[in-house]
């Protein structure tokens, strides 16, 4: 069995760990790039969202390189994500690939995992241990990322910070035990700190949107980097590990959604699928906790985010917080995004400056 899965930010790390610990061969597609995009776009329906196109590109690439099993998460809507797997399966089969397709549906999760374990021939124990190790890595990597983005705008040498982060992430990915992960993460975090330079505090913006676009820099034109370059501190609202904790674990789910709904009251009264509620919730809460601006990123035809985009305009007016919306698709030009980020940064710096002077 040669297993493959699509990218979404750092999720390849825990998955790779999981499968390698179980001695299953893994085919990891290259990080998203123009080749992936081209491949995905060629075979995707025209109006599907950018995440689907990239995911399809990833899977086709791996199938071409000999993967014979594809694993994906399903879902129960109402956004398109839950149907991605099946559509992908149909498209790849139509192109003549033959492979086993494992779609983890929330309703049949237990059965799926049992079947998988049987197929691999490992014990439950080993499986759980591998899963736990992977999960710890994901948490560590996300924690480090968060740190990285808060430090980056203050960094003496941004390129160097980037190298530090990359090395630390690679180190964490290669760890075989939890203590190793911890020390690797701590070392990385210290190295990032040491590059920090004392200056006035810079404007902070919350970056909100759907999970894929937020966590996949290629799909958001590396927006956080662009912001940091302009001396703005980006704060990503959803990290994969945080989302798993808040929305997948049944014992956290209810509290999280109650909180989200309380914040979104008056703006979005219902959970409408995708990440619309999260987007609105994070936008309102960051407006209320002193952020200087909001950047909203989403794929062009994303239904839930189009609703939240319209709602964010109202939030922007009522809470008096500047919002920049970036609808992303495969034709997006980098220079266009750069100009918009520059203009937005100028606005924020100006505002911050005024406030500081008035104090």
């Amino acid at each position: 069995m040669k297993i493959t899965f699509p990218h979404m930010g750092g999720v390849y790390i825990p998955l790779k760990t999981l499968f390698e610990e179980l001695q299953v061969e893994v085919v990891i597609p290259p990080f998203n790039n123009d080749e992936m995009k081209g491949l995905g776009c060629k075979h995707s329906p025209e109006y599907s969202c950018l995440p689907f196109k990239l995911i399809l590109g990833n899977v086709l690439h791996s199938l071409e390189r000999g993967a014979d099993t594809v694993i994906m998460l399903g879902g129960s809507g109402p956004c398109r994500f839950g149907y991605f797997g099946h559509l992908l399966n149909m498209i790849a089969r139509d192109l003549g690939y033959r492979f086993t397709f494992i779609c983890l549906e929330p309703s049949t999760l237990h059965g799926d995992i049992r079947d998988f374990i049987k197929k691999v021939g490992c014990g439950y124990r080993t499986f759980l241990r591998a899963l736990m190790l992977g999960w710890k890595k994901l948490e560590a990597v996300d924690g480090l990322q968060k740190k990285y983005w808060t430090c980056l705008p203050y960094s003496r040498d941004k390129e160097k910070s980037q190298t530090v982060l990359r090395n630390a992430v690679d180190q964490i990915a290669a760890c075989r035990s939890v203590p190793e992960i911890k020390s690797a993460a701590a070392a990385g975090s210290n190295a990032l700190d040491s590059l920090r330079q004392a200056t006035d505090s810079l404007p902070r913006v919350a970056v909100v949107g759907d999970i894929y676009t937020l966590n996949e820099p290629y799909s958001n034109q590396n927006i956080e980097w662009l912001l940091a370059e302009q001396g703005i501190e980006p704060c990503r609202s959803i990290y994969t590990s945080g989302w798993v904790k808040n929305s997948l674990l049944p014992w956290n789910k209810k509290a999280y959604y109650c909180r989200a709904k309380a914040f979104a009251k008056g703006y979005l009264e219902d959970c409408i699928g995708g990440f619309a509620l999260d987007t609105v919730y994070h936008a309102v809460s960051s407006a209320e906790t002193g952020f200087d601006g909001i950047v909203h990123v989403f794929p062009v035809t994303c239904m839930p985010e189009i609703v939240s985009r319209q709602v964010l305009e109202k939030i922007s007016l009522e809470k008096k917080i500047p919002i920049m919306s970036l609808a992303l698709d495969e034709h997006m030009e980098r220079t266009g995004v750069e100009t918009r980020v520059e203009a937005f940064a100028e606005l924020l710096h100006g505002k911050k400056h005024n406030v500081n002077q008035n104090l």
């Binding site: 809507g77 398109r80 099946h86 409408i272 699928g273 305009e313």
Partner: protein
């Protein structure tokens, strides 16, 4: 009391439901005018420009009845079938919030939340809330809603005999026939959402053009519900959207139907669910060798463009039959 109903989205599919509901409550209904350039322009003004044309039009229609009604009916339609994972397009679910966010000077919105999967208690609470707004008892609202559902069921039965909604409603009162057709007409299944198929402005007169070309038209509403459920079993997984399911299932029904010469899928530019629906239909049609064409509608769709595409498609079908 005057209730304004926008003539788009759920209007075409659920017209009798809403009409019976409000008549039963003793309210007067004001329906917005037929879609026009003016309504579209207003919609474009109020909705974000990433939205699809039906959503923009909805804003336009709301504006159109804004000053003629005491309440505007913007339902939050979540589930009407009772199927567990099925709702509507996320933009339907967030419609009230969208309208509220971008159109400040409106009469109060009647945001009736309908989710038939919910327990009796939750539904009762919703009736109470609506009752408060309208100054009526929740019992009366519940009663009206039940009789509305009955009206919808009988309307559906009529639709499956092959009349488009405008006519099916007329048929509740009088019997009207289908226009006479040549002896062996080309038969096309035109599949798509009701708010695209039955709004003559959005689709640039597509249906009328087909009628005038002497073509027999079959639409998703004409497939008996039981058949749709049978077709659903052949799909790997149900879609999450009521209308989309109807479109996919009916398309597959028609692909299997030997009477049908070709399939036209009408979609809105940038429609999220249709990226999936379209691909499913396309793959299925390709496998069975049934001719298929996609017509995508946006603000700039012109009559001439549609006509050329339809004519080309129909000519191709005639050629296949050996009539040309």
């Amino acid at each position: 009391m005057k209730i304004g109903i926008p003539r788009t989205l759920t209007y075409y599919a659920y017209k009798p439901l809403w009409e019976t509901f409000f008549q039963d409550l003793g309210c007067e209904i004001v329906v917005s005018e037929k879609t026009s350039k003016g309504i579209l322009d207003k919609g474009v003004e109020f909705a974000v420009n990433d939205a699809c044309i039906p959503i923009k039009l909805f804003h336009g229609h709301v504006h159109n009845i804004g000053n003629r009604a005491d309440f505007i009916f913007v339902p939050r339609l979540i589930n009407l079938t009772g199927e567990k994972t099925v709702t509507y397009c996320p933009k339907f679910l967030g419609l009230t919030d969208m309208v509220r966010a971008s159109m400040p000077d409106l009469p109060p919105l009647l945001d009736f939340r309908i989710d038939l999967r919910e327990k009796w208690k939750a539904r009762r609470r919703e009736y109470e809330r609506l009752g408060c707004l309208l100054g009526m008892s929740p019992g009366r609202i519940g009663h009206a809603f039940r009789s509305a559902k009955r009206a919808l069921r009988s309307y559906r039965r009529r639709l499956s005999h092959g009349n488009d909604p405008e006519r099916a409603v007329a048929e509740l009162r009088e019997h009207t026939g289908i226009p006479s057709l040549p002896s062996r007409p080309i038969t096309l299944a035109v599949v798509g959402y009701p708010y695209l198929l039955y709004d003559d402005f959005v689709n640039a007169g597509l249906m009328t053009k087909l009628y005038n070309m002497g073509i027999r038209i079959l639409t998703p509403e004409m497939v008996p519900e039981r058949q749709l459920l049978i077709k659903a079993k052949g799909l790997p997984k149900d879609l999450f959207w009521t209308f989309s399911n109807q479109v996919v299932r009916s398309a597959i029904y028609y692909i299997d139907d030997s009477r049908v010469d070709g399939i036209i899928h009408v979609t809105a530019f940038g429609c999220g669910p249709d990226s999936m629906v379209g691909k499913l239909i396309e793959l299925e049609a390709k496998q069975r060798g049934v001719p298929y064409v996609l017509i995508s509608l946006d603000e700039h769709t012109g009559e001439a463009g549609i006509l050329t595409r339809l004519e080309a498609f129909v000519d191709m079908l005639r050629y296949r039959r050996g009539e040309l």
